[in-house]
Amino acid sequence: MIKTLRCLAVLLLGLFALPSTSLAHRLDEYLQATIVTIEPGEVRLQINLTPGVAVAEQVLFLIDHDHDGVISTNEATAYAKLLMRDLILWLDQRKLELKLTSSNFPAPTELRTGEGIIQIEFSATIGPLPSGAHKLILKNRHLPSLSVYLFNAAQPRSDSVHVTRQKRNDSQSTGEIEFTID
């Protein structure tokens, strides 16, 4: 009950923040933009997360655990790992294990404006792949009721990797990349 009331309070706080910043800024959406880089031996996910003004408090509630108004290193890592648990990455029907590579969190005051961007990078070792066709699938289940998504394959830097096709569901919460290895 207390938890429900607290959630309601943060939602109301977000809504009350609307009039002062609504002219220029993301409002009631949490934008999760992912660029997937496929390289020989490794897959990298570069994710930019932008909470809108109306949902920033809800997102901050998950990050700033002790609610002291500061995002500590431990809190940043814990949130990145929470996100990581909501991501499922398959390569040719094999589930890949993600590793947190880096993260950058703006101050809560900036996040509350609707323009602060959290940047998180994950990687997964895929080992040497046989020549031929492969398929990578990413499913993002993080905060679906608040979120909108962008999913894109990066242009491979390696001459031996060729992206042949990309598919997404309508919301882009799930994306597939078909590629070949020489």
């Binding site: 002062s20 409002l27 009631d28 404006t113 394959a153 990066a154 882009q172």
Partner: protein
């Protein structure tokens, strides 16, 4: 500054720029353009005191400053350099003269209209924490103006991030951001659309495609924002949509004309050189679309080829998305003039 003063200054500078540009048309070498731009930059620097000069010129190798640009208003994103609102009128005029020298008349007009739109936003913002308006734009340089050594002009604020890198006879506008909010407004009885031409040309192109072409061009999912907006330096995505080789000759011309709305922001000599490069790669340049195709609706599009990436994204930020637009212009191989700069 009132709108009238700004417009009067802009008009006189526009006439001056036309004189400069007509001279350049006779000798359309990009090297000559660099000389004119460097002259205008030096004239501006000469109006500054020592303290101001110390704030406006950065080392050319200052990577943090090179990347310090954004679509955000100044209250959110702190820019360095000199703020227009802190300059005297002669100094502001010198900045505008620099822009008039560096940009085409159409590009200069677009920049003024974006800034004027932000002034409209300032007047309609009811007591928010954000700050908008003409005064909130910043100018800075990396390196000293030169016709031989590399240097860079940065000018930007809310919905504007111009990054012009000049290296001898070469120069590039990539990466740069333009945007508009409101994307249509009234000024002295006239309707102004800072990004109106690119919007209309994109709808004309998508509506020129036949059913088979549309199936290729139209992405089957929603696009909520720019993929490679500010802060996405050094990244490049896989192209999608319809390839130039699958367009008719007329449609390829329309695609080039659309891209010209971004490449043509720069001085004509520079814009012509860039357009020649785009023409060379037109068969490998892609056009992608997401959203309705009825003119006037909110739709995302992307132009992507070996020498260019352009994105245009209406913003669903609580109002009519057609009235709040973000765009980005990049060069996959030459952002910040990377290929001309010594390692």
């Amino acid at each position: 500054m009132t709108a009238k003063i700004i417009l009067a200054s802009a008009l006189s500078l526009y006439i001056a720029s036309c004189e400069l540009n007509s001279f350049a048309q006779g000798n359309p070498a990009t090297g000559k353009a660099t000389g004119e731009i460097a002259n205008a930059a030096n004239k501006f620097l000469a109006t500054l005191d020592e303290g101001q000069r110390g704030k406006v010129v950065f080392d050319f190798k200052d990577e943090a400053q090179r990347k310090r640009w954004s679509n955000f208003p100044t209250a959110i994103f702190k820019r360095a350099g000199l703020r227009m609102g802190d300059l005297t009128k002669p100094q502001r005029d010198a900045v505008l003269a620099l822009l008039a020298a560096a940009l085409s008349p159409q590009g200069y007009e677009k920049v003024l209209q974006i800034m004027e739109g932000d002034e409209v936003l300032r007047k309609t913002d009811s007591g928010g924490r954000l700050i908008f308006g003409h005064d909130e734009y910043y100018v800075s340089f990396l390196g000293q103006p030169s016709t031989t050594e590399p240097w860079m002009i940065q000018f930007g604020g809310h919905h504007l991030g111009l990054n012009i890198t000049l290296v001898g006879e070469q120069s590039t506008l990539a990466p740069s951001h333009t945007g508009a909010q409101p994307a249509i407004y009234e000024l002295e009885g006239k309707s102004v659309r800072p990004l109106g031409r690119e919007t209309d040309k994109a709808f004309a192109l998508i509506n020129s495609l036949n059913e088979t072409q549309r199936k290729q061009a139209i992405l089957g999912f929603q696009m909520h924002d720019l993929v490679l907006g500010p802060g996405r330096d050094g990244q490049m995505i896989q192209p999608e949509g319809i390839k130039g080789s699958d367009l008719t000759e007329k449609q390829r011309e329309m695609l080039l004309d659309l891209a010209g709305e971004w490449t043509g922001i720069m001085h004509e000599a520079v814009a012509k050189a860039k357009m020649d490069e785009l023409k060379e790669h037109i068969a490998e340049t892609w056009f992608a679309w997401s959203g309705p195709t009825e003119k006037g609706s909110a739709a995302y599009f992307r132009v992507q080829g070996p020498a260019v990436i352009i994105e245009y994204a209406p913003q669903r930020l609580g109002g009519d998305p057609t009235k709040h637009l973000h765009t980005i212009y990049r060069d996959p191989t030459n952002d910040y003039g990377a290929k001309w700069r010594k390692p």
